[in-house]
């Protein structure tokens, strides 16, 4: 085997601490090295030509380049090798820059280390095997999980590009949090007015299959070839028959047994309901937990009034399977719920604010509903406790956010803006009302955002107090907000009629279990991880799974929408080809010696391991072995280390290669 060695000076980046000619000289003395040279810039065109010429001239079988990190130029050198007729996987890079010249001062030590790094790479390349890229077919259909604005946008974009979409939403209607909002910052246009047409478009789009009141149960397969199992929860209404007339809802005798969660529990709803009048699809759902029929077997009022016989008490959850090529996850967020009924076990704090105890201490979304024209108060600002118009409201920002001790460390990003908006809306509606905002910093980065906040302060006379609130308590129907004005350096006390807490954005319930179902990583808060924080922000680390909206980190609407479009375009890019090329770094089982313990199956994070029957000449199964689906395998190699009989090898990093590296240490 003839090996070529190429040492790059990287200008002076490497050569200033590594004696490159000497490294090249030493490499020349190693067995198998046919040609060894150093050069100023290996990655430049002349440098690459140097490599190509040497490959031709010396008939090289493999090359080792001593240069910058393989993460930088591995592809460059592999391409150079390919154009000279060498398999791209017969190229090894020794990291002489990031791992050597840049981190050491001592020329002698750095040069020695460089030589050893080269030696390891040379030994590895001797054992390298030519590999070819893996081709997998693609199912050109997308699964979008979550029917909020991000999911809607992603679904529409993909569908408009001509690909089928399955949109799964766990609530009875799509729309998400955006449908709950009153007006949006900084333009103060009506949220539902801009959202509803989009929702209708989704509903009517021939390429979009909408599955509301449904959840993703299982995801199998791999990029281009996912198999998704979706559970459609029983609505107890026959969707095909229902006309959405709403008679059942009006006639339902259950009036005050269930809170309306769309109205953030500020109102009641009947046992049969649609979340909100503009719901898509406009088909009600019967809530088994409160419906009298399910308790006593009697009532059936809805059945009587429904002239289309759409009520179906016997309906069961159904399971649907969809084959998709890509998945866009857009599960969104929820608000940090202080000490409320379903308080997260993870976060408990701010009991001192009296949320849940005092009915007039509410969170941001509740205020949105109060301020919304379609809300429980028809847009009038009233106190939930007694319906009085509050004359003084204290808004408190960063409840939960930016608080290591009680809450979470990150900034929820949108609270500064929506608090300003809410204060502004309040001032617009209650002209004599006073709005106080307790804040830590104002973060108003965004187009027209800073101007918006200034407007709130200057035009709408919202009073900003820099400081945190220590306690809220009730006194004579007023809520005494005790805090500190850190700018003035003195304590403040506001006797507010109502308090609005801008609680933090946290991932939607069940985000972590969904992540495990799909097989994507998430951070310690439960937000899904992107493949690269800068360069691949909408891709998850699992190939073919993309992220959109606030499930990745707190985002406002325009950001969510643009991320959704980006995710959709990623899926569309994927679908531009009929087959998919993948790096061949995958594990392979030696069936002759596999003992069939299937530990590999247990450790594989991607479910790539299958059971394979090995048959003899007569077709009789004589043993069961593990088989690794090359399309699913991501090449982590955990199975190779777990395999006790060492029957699995990871192509490109096989054990022989690593042993050779160790031997050359």
């Amino acid at each position: 085997m003839k090996i070529g060695v190429f040492i790059c000076h990287c200008g002076e980046n490497i050569s200033s601490t590594v004696d490159c000619p000497r490294v090249a000289d030493v490499c020349r003395t190693y067995t198998g090295v046919e040609y060894s040279v150093d050069y100023k810039y290996m990655c430049s065109d002349p440098g690459q030509n140097l490599i190509k010429d040497a490959i031709h001239k010396y008939n090289l079988d493999a090359i080792v380049v001593g240069s910058c990190s393989p993460h930088m130029h591995e592809r460059t050198f592999r391409n150079a090798a390919v154009s000279a007729g060498i398999n791209p996987f017969m190229v090894e890079i020794a990291n002489l820059r990031e791992h050597c010249s840049w981190v050491h001062d001592n020329i002698e030590a750095a040069t020695r280390k460089a030589i050893e790094l080269m030696r390891m790479a040379i030994e590895k390349v001797k054992r390298d095997k030519p590999l070819t890229k893996i081709k997998v077919p693609i199912t050109k259909r997308v699964l979008v999980i979550g029917g909020g604005i991000a999911g809607i946008q992603a679904a529409l974009d993909t569908a408009n590009a001509g690909y089928e979409v399955v949109l799964v939403e766990k609530e009875p209607s799509i729309g998400g949090h955006m449908s709950q909002l009153s007006e949006t910052f900084p333009t103060l246009d009506c949220s539902q007015c801009i959202l509803t047409p989009r929702m209708v478009e989704v509903h009517q789009h021939p390429k979009i299959k909408l599955m509301t009141y449904s959840e993703v149960e299982r995801v199998e397969g791999f990029i281009g070839n996912f198999k998704v199992t979706i559970k459609k929860k029983a609505r107890h209404i026959n969707e095909d028959k229902c006309s959405g007339c709403g008679m059942c809802i009006t006639k339902c005798p259950i009036k005050k047994k269930a809170y309306n969660s769309f109205e953030e529990d500020l109102a009641f709803r009947p046992a049969v309901y649609v979340p909100f009048p503009q719901a898509i699809p406009n088909i009600p759902v019967i809530d088994e937990t409160v419906c009298t029929y399910y308790k006593t077997g009697k009532c059936g009022m809805c059945v009587k009034v429904c002239d289309r016989e759409a009520i179906d008490f016997g309906q069961k959850d159904t399971i649907h399977v969809a084959d998709v090529g890509a998945i866009i996850v857009a599960t969104g967020f929820k608000l940090y719920n202080i000490d409320k009924k379903s308080a997260d076990s993870k976060y408990k704090g701010y009991g001192e604010y009296g949320y849940g105890k005092y009915r007039d201490v509410i969170d941001g979304l509740q205020f949105e509903r109060i301020a919304s024209a379609s809300g429980p108060t028809s847009g009038e600002i009233k106190r939930p406790s007694d319906g009085r118009v509050p004359k003084k409201i204290a808004f408190i920002q960063c409840v939960g956010s930016r608080d290591d001790s009680k809450g979470i460390s990150y900034c929820s990003k949108i609270c500064c803006m929506y608090t300003a908006k809410q204060a502004m809306l309040y001032r617009h509606k209650v002209h004599d009302g006073e709005a106080y905002i307790f804040y830590m910093d104002i973060r108003a980065g965004g187009k027209m955002y800073e101007e918006f906040v200034r407007r709130a302060i200057e035009e709408d006379k919202v009073k900003y107090i820099r400081g945190r609130v220590s306690r809220i308590y009730e006194e004579d129907g007023k809520y005494i907000v005790k805090g500190e004005d850190t700018l003035a350096g003195m304590p403040v006390e506001i006797d507010a009629d109502m308090v609005v807490l801008a609680t933090a954005m946290i991932p939607q319930d069940g985000a972590e279990s969904l992540a495990r179902t799909i097989g994507i990583p998430y951070d310690k808060y439960g937000f899904f991880n992107e493949a690269h924080p800068k360069l691949r922000p909408v891709e998850s680390t699992t190939a073919g799974v993309f992220l959109a909206g606030a499930c990745q980190s707190p985002k406002d609407i325009p950001e969510s929408v643009s991320m959704a479009s980006a995710a959709a375009s990623k899926a569309i890019i994927l679908f531009a080809n009929d087959t998919l090329e993948r790096e061949p770094v995958v594990a392979k089982v030696n069936e002759d010696i596999c003992a069939g313990c299937f530990y590999c199956m247990k450790v594989c994070p991607f479910g790539a391991v299958e059971v394979k029957d090995v048959k003899d000449i007569n077709g009789i199964v004589y043993k069961e072995v593990a088989y690794i689906n090359q399309g699913v395998c991501q090449g982590c190699g955990t199975c190779t280390a777990t395999c006790l009989s060492k029957s699995i090898e990871l192509a490109g990093f096989n054990n022989e290669e690593i042993f050779a590296e160790i031997a050359a240490l």
Binding site: D19, R22, D25, V26, T29, S69, P70, H71, N95, R97, E98, H99, C100, W102, V103, H104, D105, N106, I107, E108, A109, A110, T111, R112, K113, E116, L117, M120, G519, I520, P521, Y522, D523, K524, N529, T541, T542, V585, V603, P605, F606, Q634, G635, C636, G637, T638, T640, A641, T642, L650, F653, N655, I658, F659, E661, I662, A663, L665
Partner: protein
């Protein structure tokens, strides 16, 4: 080999996604650390077999570092969790049969923790230096070996450059 000038030989098995990239960042940030440690790149900390560590000791390593992504940050979701379990065991085993825990060290270093990488390498190198050469294993290695007669070295002794011994890290 006199103890004064003895430099430990350390092998680091690191995952491609976090620690290797973290090491790249240490380089890009021009952080300095001792040159004793040589990195062997693998795809995931989950793919490092304990035999690799024994082999490194057999080839004269005085210490070994294993490093991967932080829990929950694994590029492959769970490789590092499996690795953690494996190392818990192996570490106890080595300790029981008399290999000090410091000879084999572990860390989680993310792609953004260039500083941590430099610190960890420095710490490991210092720890191993304090422990001295791994004579017990080296003695075992030297069974059935012989010294070959010296051949004239093919290379001239390296010339010391001006700033070469400015400071030893």
């Amino acid at each position: 080999m006199d103890k004064q000038n003895w430099e430990p030989k350390i092998a680091a098995f690191v995952c491609n996604w976090c620690t290797y990239t973290g090491a790249d960042l240490a380089g890009t940030s021009r952080l300095k650390y001792p040159a004793n440690c040589k990195i062997i790149r693998v795809m995931c900390s989950g793919s490092i077999d304990p035999v690799f560590i024994l082999k490194a000791f057999e080839r004269g390593a005085d210490g070994v570092l294993v490093s991967g992504c932080h829990p929950n940050d694994c590029h492959y979701n769970a490789g590092n969790f499996h690795a953690r379990r494996r190392w818990d065991f192996f570490h106890e085993l080595l300790d029981f049969i008399g290999i000090e825990k410091g000879r084999l060290q572990f860390s989680w270093i993310s792609a953004s923790e260039g500083k941590k990488f430099a610190d960890v390498i420095t710490k490991v190198t210092e720890d191993i230096k304090a422990m001295g050469p791994f004579t017990a294993y080296k003695k075992m290695n030297s069974e059935f070996t012989i010294d070959f007669p010296e051949e004239p070295s093919e290379l001239p002794e390296p010339e010391f450059q001006e700033n070469s011994d400015k400071e030893t890290e």
